[in-house]
């Protein structure tokens, strides 16, 4: 009887200890799609956790965004027409700036944990990579996309 208790305790300890690590998540804000907050559902999962005040479109930032886009995004995204990924010419009309920034900054978390990200991955089959873009640079890309949506 005593032996049995010790064994049970040992096995329980083993489970507790052995399951405690090893599940490193690259997402900044882990959680399954069921448990997403309203903010996350609308604006995505990632480092942007509250609304961003973008203000007026800044021409200098548009230029910066354009050059980053050319270097790091254009291989997969056209403005008009599907390529490896979806067309982005009108993305700012259907997505919030925070959603786009979170997708740029946390693509693996978005495609794994966000229902919209999961749907896009099923549709396009190639997971979007993180392209070593900072938060400020993501903001510049958003300005470039806003400018395109308004002026083209």
């Amino acid at each position: 009887m005593q032996m049995k208790t010790i064994l049970t305790a040992l096995i329980a300890t083993l489970f507790l200890v052995s399951c405690g690590n090893g599940n490193h998540d690259v997402s900044d804000d882990p959680g399954d799609s069921d448990g997403l907050t309203d903010f996350q559902l609308e604006h995505g999962i990632g480092p942007v956790t509250e609304r961003v005040d973008l203000g007026e479109i800044d021409p200098a930032r548009v230029e910066e965004g354009r050059s980053i886009f050319r270097m790091k995004c254009e291989a997969c995204h056209n403005m008009e027409g599907r390529m490896v990924g979806p067309a982005l010419g009108d993305v700012m009309e259907s997505r919030s700036p925070e959603f786009v920034m979170n997708f740029i900054l946390n693509p693996s978390g978005m495609t794994r944990e966000h229902p919209e990200g999961q749907r896009l991955l099923q549709e396009y089959m190639t997971p979007m990579p993180f392209q070593n873009v900072t938060r400020e640079e993501a903001k510049a890309i958003v300005d470039y996309l806003r400018d395109y949506a308004e002026n083209q």
Binding site: G22, M83, V84, T126, F130, Q131
Partner: protein, 659 residues
């Protein structure tokens, strides 16, 4: 098991004939096969899946010419860093960017024999910035960056035959050293009778400065020394940090049948060189400028391409030119192989390869002997010190064929012993052997974690052995060379692990993983890509013709190339695919190979640009594809090149995406 081992040991003893019999008499029975309880040993080397090892170990590849990287204590193989040999697996030595690294005064050399990796040091301890390694055959030294684990520089050593006593660094990486193993004439291409050896041949000791900011080497000077064979070298530490020490053999000046003719003298020398004073003498203008052709190849800029620079002169110091002494010979029995300096910098340990003892010189006694001019003649103006004036101990009963020594920082030295195939542990206090353990089989170097540093870490020891015989599942008449891991944290050495390696694991270095792993780059930043043929936006993809040379400026991203359809190439063209991998995610590599190319594939890391050269010989349609499995649509990552006849008028066109 035991019977099999003694059978093999006996076989080796008989093979070595009389010498082996002597070994048996001197050392008695080989020590017992001693290993920690199997479960304890397994626990000590177990690193759970996903966890990381405590140490990076860098093992030279010997005749593979490369450097292999392992995790300790697990013995996990991490990667091969290609250095002196072309590597079709990565395209190193096949891409246009890396070919210049292989340039020498003898042309493009695709192979070498790499022996002694040495990590850069600060205050006598490994600092993890760079690792240097020597090429024996066509004498060179390479530098590998430890943030990218890539070879970034190779410099050739003139006036040198067999750069073996290399590439050891001084305490603060002021210099990396080289030396001639086979003395040869200095004058380039001198055509003389070999039996004029004593008159026409010279030895060369090389001193290459290292730029503290970027690691770039520069051959500052060579010292012209008697035509002995310079075998191994080590820099001093602490009080002896201004000195380097080289072993010599063949003081007999033999040039044939050295096995016998270079083993006659009871003592050869350890050469002690005050490198700091020698460098000052060069600065003060005491060197001579001599013409000498050699190449210095290195990466220009961040990540672009290597360049080759031909050099045509070198500064040499002739000791007999100079009134003051800056180097000395320490008589040492007998054809000494290794020379190793203990952590305090006081003891200079010779590996008396053919001696029956391990001779230990004292650095402070050496300085006294120099002050007292306790000289026993000279060789070409270099004073020979009196043996009794510098020797402080002789370790008795070390086994037969002691070679190399490292230290644990707790007062013990560990010497590898080749013929009796064992490691002996001895006290730096009493100079007595306190423990011995078998090596499987025929050990060359050994390595202790930080065991050549001022602050050794007495954790693990690797024995680097020359034959595997029955240790693993047999794989044919030629088997891979082993390494054995020992636990040295306790009083007695304990065998933990035995694993085959690549090439010949000649010498090794280990450094705590924490000293390196956070500096390792995950990508090359596209913003910093300064390759002249990079395209930094896929919109720049294009094909340009310049006579018979066609340049394809191409980008890769999961899962396509841009462009992927090219027409207008003609037989007789030389096509250069400049492939920029525009991915910015760790470990997402793309490669390119094209049918019929007399070349290897080229692998391109994230953010990097590499160039594949292709000379199509026949008309036709040539598929090319991504060789690195990159994504779910990797099989779709391909393209076509149309090759037309030399006189065809198919216009040069390229496209992507419009079927």
């Amino acid at each position: 098991m035991k019977t099999e081992k003694s059978r093999i040991l006996r076989g080796m003893f008989f093979g070595a004939g009389f010498v082996a019999l002597a070994a048996f008499l001197f050392t008695g029975c080989p020590s017992q096969d001693r290993m920690m309880d199997t479960r304890d040993a397994a626990q000590k080397v177990y690193v759970a899946p996903g966890d990381h090892d405590e140490y990076y170990a860098f093992l030279s590849g010997g005749y593979s010419g490369q450097l292999s990287v392992w995790g300790l204590p697990s013995g996990r193989f991490l990667k091969v860093v290609p250095v002196f040999s072309q590597d079709p697996e990565t395209g190193y030595g096949y891409s246009e960017e890396t070919k210049p690294l292989f340039q020498t005064s003898y042309g493009f050399i695709p192979w070498d024999d790499s022996h002694h990796p040495h990590i850069s040091q600060t205050d006598g301890d490994s600092d993890g910035r760079w690792i240097f390694i020597n090429a024996n055959n066509t004498p060179r030294i390479a530098r590998i960056d430890l943030d990218t684990f890539e070879t970034k520089e190779i410099i050739e050593l003139p006036n040198t035959g067999g750069n073996h006593a290399s590439s050891f660094v001084t305490s603060n990486t002021e210099y990396v050293i080289g030396a001639t193993r086979f003395s040869i004439p200095y004058e380039t291409d001198l055509d003389v009778a070999i039996d004029t050896y004593a008159d026409n041949f010279d030895g060369a000791l090389s001193f290459l400065s290292v730029d503290p900011d970027n690691g770039r080497m520069d051959l500052k000077f060579q010292i012209v020394v008697p035509p002995y064979h310079y075998d191994l070298g080590r820099a001093g530490k602490g009080p002896s940090a201004d000195w380097v020490f080289f072993t010599t053999y063949n003081t007999e000046l033999a040039h044939t049948m050295l096995e016998v003719n270079a083993s006659r003298n009871d003592k050869d020398y350890i050469a002690a060189v005050n490198w700091r004073r020698a460098a000052e003498l060069v600065e003060e203008g005491h060197g001579r400028t001599m013409s000498a052709e050699y190449y210095h190849n290195y990466y220009e800029g961040n990540q672009g391409y290597a360049v080759s620079n031909r050099k045509d002169e070198v500064t040499v110091l002739y000791p007999e030119d100079i009134d003051e002494n800056f180097m000395y010979f320490l008589p040492t029995p007998k054809s000494p192989h290794g020379v190793d300096i203990d952590p305090t910098g006081e003891y200079i340990v010779g590996g008396g390869k053919l001696a029956t003892v391990i001779p230990v010189h004292s650095f402070s006694r050496m300085l006294e002997a120099i002050d007292n001019e306790a000289f026993d003649g000279d060789s070409r103006g270099i004073p020979i010190l009196d043996y009794d004036a510098t020797i402080i101990g002789e370790v008795e009963d070390p086994g037969l064929g002691p070679l190399h020594t490292e230290f644990d920082g707790r007062g013990y030295a560990y010497t590898s012993v080749y013929i009796s195939s064992e490691i002996v542990k001895w006290s730096l206090d009493t100079f007595e052997v306190v423990d011995r353990i078998d090596a499987y089989y025929s050990i060359g170097h050994l390595m202790i974690t930080a065991g050549d540093n001022v602050n050794p870490e007495p954790r693990y020891m690797l024995g680097l052995t020359k034959t595997a015989k029955d240790r693993y599942l047999p794989t044919g008449p030629k088997q891979n060379h082993p390494a054995q891991l020992y636990d040295i944290s306790g009083d007695r050495m304990e065998l933990l692990l035995d694993f085959p390696t690549i090439g010949e694991p000649h010498y090794a270095q280990a450094i705590a993983a924490d000293q390196i792993k956070d500096q390792v780059k995950q990508i090359y930043e596209l913003e910093e890509n300064d390759h002249p043929n990079a395209i930094l936006g896929v919109a720049d993809n294009r094909v340009e013709r310049d006579g018979n040379n066609v340049h394809v400026y191409m980008a890769s991203v999961r899962s396509h190339f841009r462009p992927d359809n090219i027409e207008g190439i003609r037989v007789g063209d030389t096509v250069y695919f400049h492939l920029t991998n525009v991915e910015q995610e760790w470990d997402v590599v793309h490669g390119i190979a094209i049918k019929g190319a007399e070349n290897a594939e080229i692998l391109v890391a994230p953010g990097q640009t590499k160039t594949l050269k292709w000379e199509p010989q026949r008309t036709g349609i040539y598929p090319f594809y991504c060789t690195a499995f990159c994504s779910a649509l990797h099989q779709e990552m391909q393209g076509y090149v149309r090759v037309s006849a030399a006189d065809a008028d198919v216009p040069l066109t390229w496209r992507t995406g419009t079927n």
